[in-house]
């Protein structure tokens, strides 16, 4: 599994994905000047824009890197050769997943550092009313990274049953939409307007809420932008949720991949 992980991580670097990200990251130095358009919250706007850029890059990476990785191996029949290797299909899948997850962590680290530098420059030029809480920024970057690692697990799950790249790519985009909106739908169901909906619909929506991922929990942007306190119990619960959910999705993916007919 270690060798699969190493080979895949090297492959990602060899494909110059990291170089592409660095090119995209050249937008970061422009953020302080764009933020100065704000009337009253220049530093806050720079944090908003920096996080938008970071999450956008991570989203693209998660979908396209995750969505094509396993599918490409199946399509090119590389997976056919793993039958002769001393590792199970599950280990092969986990090795590939770990390579992308580590790559996302590395990208988050680099982009996170650029984000911190951008915010630091802006906060020197335009000191905010509330001082920047740097710990919140780091936590927000970390949790965004975890969110996209979780999303990558879905690309693998879809790749195990798909015969084309459509399901891994578009299925994951759909999961991202649903996972980002699930908490709002749940909150609406709890509101007086939501209670007026047919009971069956309420029950189906509530059931789905527990099944689909909840990406809202990983969004600490508001805490980072406005220096609000981060609830520690919430952080702990979200971390646990991430681990448990990831284990479930990867187990399902391994189970399905082990039973897939590879020609």
């Amino acid at each position: 599994m270690w060798q699969v992980f190493r080979a895949n991580l090297k492959g990602i670097f060899r494909d110059r994905v990291f170089l592409g990200i660095l090119v995209a990251a050249t937008i970061f130095p422009l953020i302080p000047s764009v933020s100065s358009l704000s009337m009253r919250q220049v530093t806050e706007l720079s944090i908003t824009l920096s996080f938008s850029l970071l999450t956008f890059i991570l989203l693209l990476l998660a979908i396209f890197l995750g969505g094509t990785s396993l599918w490409k191996d199946i399509e090119r029949r590389y997976t056919f050769s793993i039958a002769g290797l001393p590792l199970t299909r599950g280990q092969y899948l986990l090795g590939k997943f770990a390579a992308i997850a580590v790559f996302l962590l590395l990208v988050s680290l680099v982009l996170g550092l650029l984000l911190l530098m951008t915010v630091y420059v802006t906060s020197i030029l335009h000191p905010p009313i509330r001082p920047v809480v740097w710990g919140n920024l780091v936590l927000a970057v970390l949790f965004h990274c975890l969110k996209y690692i979780l999303l990558v697990s879905f690309t693998f799950l879809f790749s195990t049953v798909s015969t084309s790249f459509f399901l891994p790519i578009f299925g994951t985009i759909a999961v991202f939409f649903v996972g980002t909106a699930s908490q709002q739908v749940f909150d609406f169901l709890q509101s007086p307007s939501g209670q007026k909906l047919p009971v069956l619909l309420q029950q189906i929506a509530t059931g789905l809420y527990y099944i689909v991922p909840n990406f809202t929990a990983f969004d600490l942007n508001v805490n980072a932008i406005y220096a609000l306190d981060v609830p520690l119990n919430g952080i702990g619960l979200t971390l646990l949720y991430f681990i448990v959910y990831l284990v479930i999705i990867l187990s399902c993916a391994s189970f399905l991949f082990a039973r897939r007919e590879l020609n």
């Binding site: 358009l37 009253r40 919250q41 806050e44 908003t48 999450t55 956008f56 939409f177 932008i225």
Partner: protein, 285 residues
Amino acid sequence: MKKLVLVGLVLLLYVSVVVPFTAYMQNKPFVEKLGYVPSAATLRTTSLDQQYLVSSTLIMKVLFYYGSLFEAQKNHIDIPPNYDGMVDVIETAVKLDPYNMDGYYFAQAILTWDNRRIERANALLEYGMKYRDWDFYLPFFAGFNAAYFLKDYPTAAKYYQRAADLTGYALFSKLAGRYMYEAGKTELAIVYLKTMLASTHDETIRQSFQLRLAALEETRRAEVARDLFIAEQGRHPKSLAELEQTGTLDFPLVDPYGGKFFLDETGQVRTTSKFSFAGAKKSRQ
């Protein structure tokens, strides 16, 4: 050579299209420029994890629109502003990001002096106070609106007290107390505008406030001269010209909006511009 001519032709074609295209985009009606903005709930769902970016973008959009409008007014081009459209967008933006100070600040700037939608401004500020519970600006704005526009002094005192509690500034405590009754409206507005000016980065808003502040300072100068005249002569002056003739007013009043100052029948200092370029233009016609 043929290739060169072809490239030149394509470039020429592009330039001949892009020039009228840019002019068309620039001269689009303001309502179209603002565009249709879906409800906050829809936007929150569709913007995924970019809701703070969407909120900031909406506010920027309105700000640019207002900026172009302000420039047009300065150049004496009378375009009726779409205040409702602007405020709808701002309200949507602060629902997406209830901490966004730009939204409250801008709404305060356009809803009060220009539009006189004071209740709507204060409702928005009240909403913001629930989230930005550390920020004294929101109760400060709401207090000013209540005192200056609504003349609701108990409500104003409540807001100023909140601002005082958050900052410990003596000025707000004064405003929360008797100061408001003793000080004239003009002085209150000058204090308010100076506070607003001290904390804005945006050039359009800054210029707008500076103009109003200059006009108010001229008004205050006239009021001080009028009061001095009454104290010395024991009667009201007939006009501002009399204040100049007697030397009570040391130099002529200048309305930066282009209007003319005068004393109304109650002895209050007024200007024909009513603190707007459009008002000055109307008075000249």
